[in-house]
C-alpha cells in the first residue's frame, strides 16, 4: 500500500512538474494561431523526453554519475565547455522566464504590476533552494502544479466540437494566413519546450540527490512513462483551450493574461483561482529546477561538491553559483524585458542545444564500464538514434527559421 502510494505520488509530481512557463506559453501561442495542427509535435517531444529522461535516470542510478559529469568525461574539456556555456545560458534564460512567470501569475491574481512581485519571487525561490529538502520541494510543487488540470476541465466545460479538434490534430495543415516557415518555427519551439535540456540535468541529478539504486529503476520508469505523457496531455489541453476560444476570436497569444481567458470563460472566478495556483506552482517548481540545474551543470563540469542533500556549507561553490544565477536572472527582468519574450526565445535556444546533451547520454548508456548489464537494449538504441536525427535537424533549422520568420511574427 505504502509502495503504491509512493508510485502514485511519483506520477502525480511528474505530471505537475512537466509543464513550465515555456510549455504554458508556447502551447497557448500555438493553439491560438495554429489550432491543434501542431499537436503531433507535442507527442513527438513527449516520447523523446521520456526516452532520454529515463536513460539519464538509469545512468545516474546505476553508475551514480549525473549527466553533466558524463558529458565532460566523454566529450572532453573543449566540447564540454562549449556545451556548458550553451546550457548555462539557456538555463539562465529559463530561470529568468520562470521567475517572470511566477510574478506574472501573481499579477494576474492581484492586479499589482509583476515587477513588484519579482523580488518576492526571487527570495522565495532562493529560500527553498537554501533550506528545503529535495523531496519536499519536488512533491509540493509537483502536487500543487497538478491544479493545471483545470485546463483539461475547462476544455470539457467549453463543449468544443471534438470532431473538428480531432481532425485538426490528426490531419495537420497550416492555417491560412500563417506561412509554412512560421509553422515549422513553432514546431521547433514546441519540441524545444517539451525536451528542454534542463529536464535531464535535473532528472539525473535528482536521481543522485534521492540516492536511487538499481532497484528504484522500475519506479522511476513508471513515473516517467506515465507522468510525462499525462503532462504532455496537459500541454495539449492548454493548446486546445486556446484553439477553441482564442483562435476563432482572432486573438493571438502574446501575454499570460490571454492564456487565462479560455479558462475564465469556461469556469469563472473559481477556475481562475485554481489556474493561478497551478501556474504559480508550476513556474515556481520550474524556477527551482532550472536554478538547481545551472548549479548542477557548473558543479559537475568542474567537479565541485554539489547537491541539496548536503548542507550549503558542504557545497559552497554550488550554492554561490545558484545565488549568482538568480541575481543575474532578476537583473535581466529589471531591464523591463517581456518575460514571455524571454520564454519564447529560451525554448528555441533549447532546441538548438539539444544534440550536445543527448548524444553523450546515449553513448554512456551503452558503456558497460558505467552500466554493467544495464546497458541500453537494441530497441531503445534504434529509437534514440531516430530521435538524435530529429534533434539534429531541429537544431540546425532553428536559427535560419528564426531569422526568416522574424521569430515567428
Amino acid at each position: 500500500m505504502k509502495r503504491l502510494l509512493g508510485v502514485a505520488l511519483g506520477i502525480l509530481t511528474a505530471i505537475g512538474g512537466f509543464v513550465d512557463i515555456g510549455d504554458l506559453v508556447t502551447n497557448a501561442v500555438v493553439g491560438s494561431r495554429f489550432g491543434l495542427s501542431l499537436a503531433w509535435v507535442v507527442v513527438v517531444g513527449v516520447v523523446g523526453i521520456c526516452l532520454f529522461a529515463n536513460m539519464s535516470g538509469r545512468v545516474a542510478a546505476v553508475s551514480g554519475r549525473a549527466t553533466f559529469e558524463v558529458i565532460r568525461e566523454r566529450m572532453g574539456p573543449r566540447a564540454g565547455l562549449a556545451n556548458l556555456t550553451a546550457s548555462f545560458l539557456i538555463n539562465l534564460m529559463t530561470v529568468t522566464a520562470e521567475i517572470g512567470g511566477i510574478a506574472l501569475a501573481l499579477q494576474l491574481a492581484s492586479g499589482v504590476s509583476y515587477m513588484l512581485w519579482v523580488p518576492f519571487a526571487l527570495i522565495a525561490v532562493w529560500l527553498v533552494i537554501w533550506r528545503v529538502k529535495f523531496s519536499i520541494m519536488e512533491n509540493v510543487t509537483g502536487l500543487v502544479g497538478l491544479s493545471l488540470v483545470v485546463f483539461a476541465v475547462a476544455l470539457f466545460l467549453l463543449k468544443p466540437d471534438w470532431g473538428s479538434l480531432a481532425s485538426q490534430a490528426l490531419n495537420p495543415s497550416i492555417p491560412s494566413g500563417e506561412g509554412s516557415g512560421v509553422y515549422w518555427y513553432y514546431a521547433i519551439a514546441l519540441f524545444g519546450a517539451a525536451m528542454t535540456p534542463y529536464e535531464v540535468f535535473f532528472f539525473s541529478s535528482g536521481a543522485v540527490e534521492e540516492r536511487w539504486k538499481v532497484k528504484d529503476l522500475v519506479q522511476s520508469r513508471v513515473n516517467v512513462l506515465l507522468g510525462f505523457p499525462l503532462g504532455g496531455f496537459l500541454s495539449l489541453a492548454i493548446a486546445a483551450c486556446a484553439a477553441v476560444v482564442l483562435l476563432p476570436a482572432g486573438i493571438s497569444v502574446t501575454t499570460l493574461s490571454q492564456v487565462a481567458l479560455p479558462v475564465i470563460q469556461a469556469g469563472g472566478q473559481l477556475a481562475l483561482a485554481v489556474l493561478i495556483l497551478g501556474v504559480v506552482a508550476a513556474t515556481f517548481g520550474a524556477a527551482l529546477e532550472t536554478t538547481l540545474s545551472s548549479g548542477y551543470t557548473l558543479a559537475q563540469f568542474f567537479g565541485w561538491s554539489w547537491g541539496k542533500f548536503r548542507r550549503p556549507a558542504e557545497a559552497a561553490r554550488f550554492h554561490v553559483a545558484m545565488i549568482v544565477v538568480l541575481l543575474a536572472g532578476v537583473a535581466v527582468l529589471a531591464t523591463g524585458v517581456d518575460p514571455i519574450l524571454v520564454t519564447e526565445y529560451s525554448v528555441v535556444f533549447s532546441a538548438i542545444a539539444l544534440p550536445l546533451t543527448y548524444l553523450p547520454i546515449l553513448i554512456v548508456a551503452n558503456d558497460p564500464q558505467y552500466m554493467g548489464k544495464h546497458v541500453n537494449g537494441r530497441a531503445v538504441n534504434i529509437v534514440a538514434l531516430i530521435y538524435l536525427v530529429i534533434i539534429l535537424v531541429a537544431s540546425v533549422a532553428a536559427i535560419p527559421l528564426m531569422i526568416a520568420t522574424g521569430a515567428g511574427a
Partner: protein, 111 residues
C-alpha cells in the same frame, strides 16, 4: 612532463615520416603496491593515423552499440596502434619520434 604536452602531438618514425598523432597514453598498474594503489607505469602511446581526438575510445573497446555511431567512430580510428615506451626515442611538445626498429601493436584494450 604532463599529458597535455604530448596528447595530440605528431608521431614520426626515425626517418621523420609522419605516422599519426598521439591519441592516448597507456598505463599499467603492475608494479609492487605503493601506499594505496600501485604505481602507474607508462606502457606506451596509442597512435591514431587520422585524428587525435580519441573520440570516446570506441576503437579500443569491444563496444558495438549504439549502431551505427560505434561503427562510424571505429572506422574513423581504423589503423590505430600502440607503441611501447621502449620504442620511443624522443617525446615532448615538439612531437614524438620513434626508434628505428619500433613495433606497432594492436591498440585494443585487454578485457
Amino acid at each position: 612532463m604532463i599529458l597535455n604536452d604530448i596528447l595530440g602531438r605528431d608521431v614520426m618514425d626515425s626517418n621523420g615520416e609522419r605516422l599519426g598523432e598521439v591519441s592516448d597514453v597507456r598505463f599499467a598498474l603492475d608494479a609492487a603496491p605503493a601506499q594505496l594503489l600501485s604505481r602507474a607505469r607508462m606502457v606506451g602511446i596509442v597512435v591514431s593515423p587520422r585524428t587525435a581526438t580519441s573520440f570516446l575510445g570506441y576503437e579500443r573497446q569491444d563496444l558495438s552499440q549504439p549502431w551505427p555511431v560505434a561503427q562510424l567512430l571505429r572506422w574513423r580510428h581504423r589503423g590505430s596502434f600502440l607503441v611501447l615506451w621502449e620504442d620511443i626515442a624522443v617525446m615532448g611538445p615538439d612531437g614524438v619520434r620513434l626508434r628505428s626498429e619500433f613495433t606497432a601493436y594492436e591498440s585494443t584494450l585487454p578485457r
